[in-house]
């Protein structure tokens, strides 16, 4: 069981190069990297570097998300996209830099606290609770916001039942929303691959997120399934949830996102609207694997 090292926030502050609560210094490189700091940003990734031994998985990466947008995070294999999600959700702690969500630092917070605070995610390789039914999987997510104590659950007090019932109803609605309600009672490992991916989205939505992070949700999908997924992502956005999408399929990303950040070898190489990014020579080079000057 690999629980990453967890220190108290105070310790972490001391260990970080810059105290995480202090605003980042505003210098020339800041303006260059991030443009004007957006006070309404939902999530700010602020000069984040994350090393695994010698590997620099994220190298001074900065970007910020605005509420209500669909934001794309793209880049070739090994670019650091999943690592970025892991840093945002408390799986790994950045070596340096800050991550703020709704203005508050989340570096050093525990995973479940970050989730309860409003960031939910799915995984590149599906990670469901294999022996639970689809409904139970979603209810685990819904449980994140339930208040009843151990005592009232042990003695099954009315309040506990009421929360259990409302969690159940909401979970069924979410299964309906992602289109797999008829599989509610089936053990999740028996679901098809596509259904499992949808179930992961439903489970993440059940935690009632402000920001939903999807790690290659269309991996292994055929074009028809991809089209359905796009439709689903838009519907999620329409419910007021901000979406951060990692995706390999450029057409898919271009079609659905409002803004995009491109990573390569852990560095941000471009940021902008889909049209801007598509025409950026560095991005073309990264995707075609040719040096920038030859593109």
């Amino acid at each position: 069981m690999s629980e990453p090292h967890m220190d108290t926030p105070e310790e972490l502050d001391r260990m970080n190069a810059r105290p995480i609560d202090e605003p980042a210094p505003t210098g020339a490189d800041q303006i260059l990297d991030q443009g004007v700091r957006d006070p309404d940003a939902l999530l700010e990734v602020d000069h984040v570097t994350l090393r695994f031994g010698g590997v620099v998985a994220l190298n001074d990466v900065s970007f910020s998300l605005r509420k209500g947008e669909i934001f794309g995070l793209i880049g070739p294999n090994g670019a650091g996209k999943t690592t970025c999600f892991n840093a945002m959700t408390g799986v790994y702690r950045p070596t340096s830099g800050a991550i703020r969500f709704q203005g508050q630092s989340i570096v050093g917070k525990k995973k479940h606290e970050i989730t309860r605070g409003g960031i939910a995610r799915t995984f590149q390789n599906v990670r469901l609770f294999p022996e639970m039914t689809a409904l139970e999987n979603v209810m685990v997510g819904a449980d994140a916001h339930h208040k009843t104590s151990v005592i009232s659950a042990l003695f099954r007090l009315p309040r506990h039942w009421q929360e259990e019932r409302s969690g159940r109803e909401r979970s069924l609605e979410l299964l309906e929303f992602v289109g797999i309600r008829r599989r509610a009672g089936d053990v999740s490992r028996n679901l098809s691959y596509g259904e499992q991916r949808r179930l992961e989205i439903a489970r993440a939505l059940a935690t009632n997120p402000t920001l939903l992070c999807l790690d290659e949700p269309a991996a292994g999908f055929n074009p028809a399934e991809k089209a359905e997924l796009l439709e689903l992502i838009r519907r999620i956005r329409d419910t007021g949830v901000t979406v951060l999408l990692i995706e390999h399929d450029m057409r898919l990303v271009m079609g659905v996102t409002d803004r995009i950040v491109v990573l390569e070898f852990g560095k941000k190489i471009a940021e902008g609207t889909p049209a801007e990014v598509r025409d950026n020579p560095a991005v073309i080079a990264a995707y075609l694997g040719v040096p920038t000057d030859a593109a």
Binding site: T115, R121, R203
Partner: protein
């Protein structure tokens, strides 16, 4: 070998084995719950049981009861039973939580390798039993006669006592309650989520530390009940009582499929009955040896135990 002894006493041996097995099963739940969630053999669980066997004796002692006391009347018996159970449950539960907090949590924080946990587990187990040993001068302590064991059902030569019925019924009821809790409540869902995928459980908002504490607590509660039943059945306890029965309980958990609640019940009952039969067949000196040979044979054919390993596999 004494085949006729086994056959003639088949009924009594089986009932005695079931009662012993019920205690083993309740005890085994603690190993299985913790293993299911942490993949850790909590060797200190035998001392969680041990302190329970003393906790009820101490409470009864406060009321002036010792092994030479007169038998209480029915009403008082009920009161003393309730008191003894509460004391054992509270003390065993607290010690279980304490062991997790002091011995395992700091290691988990530091991402210690599994061997470190194993050593700590053995260390915690020894430390507690030695502490009890020193505190009691390694003397055994007698149990007051709270319940008068008397035959209430007779079938042929099988005399079933009220105490045997109490022990078996209590084990079954507690198993049922625990099973409903794990498979039918929010907290149980959290436990199964952590058992099936600890990392994604945390990322879905499950507080892993709380789930782990809860699992130790539940194991402690069950061990506390087992401890009171053990006292009443055996009539004495001693600082090494947890160690000896703990091996049986751990074995039962593995036999049923460690990590599997229903497996612990099945494994406990089966081991109790096998030991009882072995005692009838070979004499009581062979009780453990014979039962363990059978255990090895069973594991050869079902390496992950009779019901398989998963705590998550609700519908085993």
């Amino acid at each position: 070998m004494n085949f006729s002894g086994l056959i003639d006493n088949f009924g009594p041996l089986t009932v005695a084995g079931l009662a012993q097995g019920a205690i083993i099963a309740l005890f085994a739940l603690g190993y299985t719950l913790v293993y299911g969630v942490l993949r850790l053999i909590n060797f200190a669980h035998s001392e969680v049981f041990l302190v329970g066997t003393y906790a009820c004796l101490i409470i009864w002692g406060w009321f002036g009861l010792d092994q030479n006391s007169a038998r209480p009347d029915f009403g008082a018996m009920l009161g003393y039973m309730a008191l003894g159970l509460v004391a054992a449950i509270v003390v065993s539960g607290t010690v279980a939580l304490g062991v997790e907090l002091v011995a395992y949590r700091p290691l988990r924080r530091r991402n210690a390798p599994p061997l470190a946990f194993l050593i700590t587990a053995i260390g915690a187990s020894l430390a507690i039993s030695e502490f009890v040993g020193v505190a009691t001068h390694r003397n055994q302590r007698g149990v007051p006669p709270i319940i008068q064991a008397r035959t209430v059902i007779t079938i042929g030569n099988t005399h079933i006592t009220n105490l045997q019925i109490l022990i078996i019924a209590l084990a079954l009821v507690m198993m049922f309650v625990l099973d409903r809790f794990i498979n039918g409540s929010r907290l149980g869902r959290g436990i199964r989520a952590v058992a099936q995928n600890p990392d994604s459980a945390a990322l879905m908002g499950v507080n892993k530390s709380r789930v782990i504490s809860l699992v130790f607590l539940l194991g402690g509660l069950m061990a506390g009940i087992a401890a009171v039943m053990y006292d009443l059945k055996i009539g004495v306890t001693k600082y090494d009582a947890g160690f000896l029965l703990g091996i049986d309980a751990f074995t039962a958990a593995v036999l049923g499929g460690i990590g599997n609640l229903r497996g612990a019940l099945l494994g406990g009952l089966l081991l109790g009955v096998l030991q009882s039969w072995a005692a009838g067949l070979f004499g009581s000196n062979w009780l453990h040896a014979a039962a363990f040979v059978l255990l090895v044979l069973i594991l050869m054919f079902r390496p992950s135990g009779l019901l398989g390993e998963s705590l998550g596999r609700a519908r085993a």
